[in-house]
Amino acid sequence: MCYTQFLDADGTASGELPDFARDAQELRAMYRLMVTTRLLDRRAVSLQRTGQLGTYASGLGQEAIGTAAGFALRDEDILIPAYRDYAAQFKRGVPLQNVLLYWAGDERGMAYEREPARHDFPLSVPIATQVPHAIGVAYAIRLRRQPRVVLACCGDGATSKGDFYEAISCAKVWDLPIVFLVSNNQWAISMPVARQTGAQTLAQKAIAGGMPGEQVDGNDVLATRHVLARAIARARDGGGPSLVEALTYRLHDHTTADDARRYRAEDEVQAAWARCPIKRYKAWLEAQGHWDAAAEGALAAEAAAEVEAAARAYLGQPADPPEAIFDSLYAELPRALRWQREQVRARGPLGDGH
């Protein structure tokens, strides 16, 4: 099974770096995205801890994968995210506050307005069920002879589910332009990957579908972007689907409703921090002369301001009126349901009698 890594845990590079690694501006943009994503993540957790947000699924430690995916995709491509691929969503134009809105329990968090996110899928909470949607999306692309690719994301736990398999098994039948991205963060809530599957790698599940599968160090943003970009390019060129297993680690509890100390050892988590994707990338950027303390200071201020603005925007956005629960159900509310909407509307804002 092929495994790609350019940057080791200390940020020391080996192997021949891909072309994009020569574009300092782009490299810095990637770094910015990772840092901003982490900051937003922290903010979300603290909002939750202070009762200002619902249950939140943190992406802590997985920022490189989303960033790599975001930068590997073209605008015309379509992202089908799982629920920790925030960085990819941000890169594609999902405002930071949408993530907060969503986990606050507001459907408008998924009403992405900006391109290209506007034609992406919203995150999916049911595990793996979103993956076979890629088959239909990619089929539509093919039918229309469009040079587009679908990136279908899921976690390691998701690879146990029939939906995941039915998709990878079908993708190769029609050689559809899909890249399946499995973020193997080693845990599915309390289930470690070794008890999730008897397979030595998740990448080898591709073999069941007859397509290529490979592993990449998902904490190495350069390697992950490179491997994804290559798979995406192959798919775009008619080379068919493939599967990328990105190895990473879930540094946070499963969600804010979880307490991972119940089932995993603290030293495993500590060891994983040593492989932090941001730390190693920063070290490499600095070594390349692309980054320094001044840049870091400026970014810290910028990102903090951006995250703060997002939090404020979220906190300041009042809930929709109650009758909104009917307004996007069908293209037009059927006659038979109008009295229900009216009943809700007549009761007035939530809190007043509801």
């Binding site: 459907e107 408008r108 998924m110 009403a111 992405y112 307005e113 506007r118 899928f121 919203p122 049911p126 069920t129 979103q130 076979p132 949607h133 890629a134 088959i135 239909g136 999306v137 990619a138 089929y139 539509a140 692309i141 093919r142 039918l143 029939g162 939906d163 039915e166 998709a167 098994s169 079908c170 039948v173 307004d327 996007s328 159900l329 069908y330 293209a331 059927p334 006659r335 038979a336 349901l337």
Partner: protein
């Protein structure tokens, strides 16, 4: 106007709509070269080619999920599930995704898809081929559920289902696929998706049904007519959203109602209609609302399936109870 069976009318509707709208695609198991196990898709592959007539791998969850993916891209997928019992693996995708993408993205995405499947028994089919699933889907918000009972309605309602901007579960009465013919005009006219059909007017009793049971219900009405009882017969072909207005108006006139469904009794759609009558029509009722239904047992295999299925005699028996309690004055 050619005389068509119901399955021919379904086939005609797909031919017609695929010709009219290049975004319509059909998919499912054995629907291409083989023309579908019930022959619903015969001729589509030759006419529209393998890109738009898609033989899928054997995986119903995938078929539903693929239809979702296609529909989000503005195509109009019409997915066939081969036999009713194999709709169950679609439930998760239909309920948790197809019925929700519009709502959860506040209108940004939508799933204009149709899932077609045969529904119900009576043809001595193998195991798991004869179940009635309308209520399983009709209970689910965000869907439309349609169950035509005649060739002409199958044609017009399938056109409507394909053109509808939201997901539609289209359940075809297996027993009526070839039971009788009817003139069907290929005029491209869709029928409304939110209105019951009043098949026959009458002032003494309202008979309500849908799908294959409409056949027995109409025969029961014939028998009643011979006895001087004028039944109003209502075909609830568009089960969800449910047009209660038509049923309530009828019961306001007749004061008596018998509802006929093939599905298991408990929690079936007849219960929904009856509950609406108990809520909104109680004061016009002269007699209890009777439900004639399948029993609360697993659909029997062929040898005993007739013991399960409602039939004209069972309908008449309930009607007689109604008139015993509330005789025609």
């Amino acid at each position: 106007m050619p005389d068509l069976t119901l399955i021919e009318a379904v086939n005609l509707a797909m031919h017609s709509e695929m010709a009219r709208d290049g975004d319509v695609v059909v998919l499912g198991e054995d629907i291409g070269r083989n023309g579908g196990v019930f022959r619903a898709t015969v001729g589509l592959l030759d006419k529209f080619g393998p890109e738009r007539v898609i033989d899928t791998p054997l995986a119903e969850t995938l078929v539903a999920a693929m239809a979702i993916g296609l529909s989000t891209q503005g195509l109009r997928p019409v997915a066939e599930i081969q036999f009713s019992g194999f709709l169950y693996p679609c439930v998760d995708q239909v309920v948790n995704h197809a019925a929700r993408y519009r709502n959860r993205t506040r209108g940004r995405m939508s799933c204009p898809l149709v899932i077609r499947a045969p529904n119900g028994g009576g043809i001595h089919a193998p195991e798991h081929h004869s179940e009635s699933l309308e209520t399983t889907f009709a209970h689910m918000p965000g869907l439309r559920v349609v169950a035509p009972s005649t060739p002409a309605r199958a044609y017009g309602l399938l056109l409507a289902a394909i053109r509808d901007p939201d997901p539609v579960v289209f359940l075809e009465p297996t027993r009526c696929y070839r039971l009788f013919k009817q003139p069907v005009e290929d005029d491209g006219e869709a029928l409304p998706l939110d209105a019951c059909f009043v098949d026959r007017e009458g002032g003494d009793l309202t008979l309500v049904s849908w799908g294959a049971m409409m056949h027995d219900t109409r025969q029961a009405a014939d028998r009643l007519a011979e006895e001087g009882i004028a039944a109003e017969v209502i075909d609830v072909a568009t089960l969800k959203p449910l047009d209660m207005d038509t049923i309530l108006a009828s019961v306001a006139k007749t004061g008596r109602c018998v509802i006929v469904q093939e599905a298991a009794r408990a929690g079936g759609w007849a219960s929904e209609i009856s509950a609406n009558l108990a809520e909104h029509g109680l004061l016009s009722l002269f007699a209890p609302v009777m439900r004639v239904s399948g029993y609360d047992t697993v659909m029997p295999l062929a040898r005993l399936e007739r013991a399960y299925l409602p039939d004209v005699e069972r309908i008449l028996a309930e009607v007689r109870k109604v008139f015993e309690i509330a005789p025609k004055s």
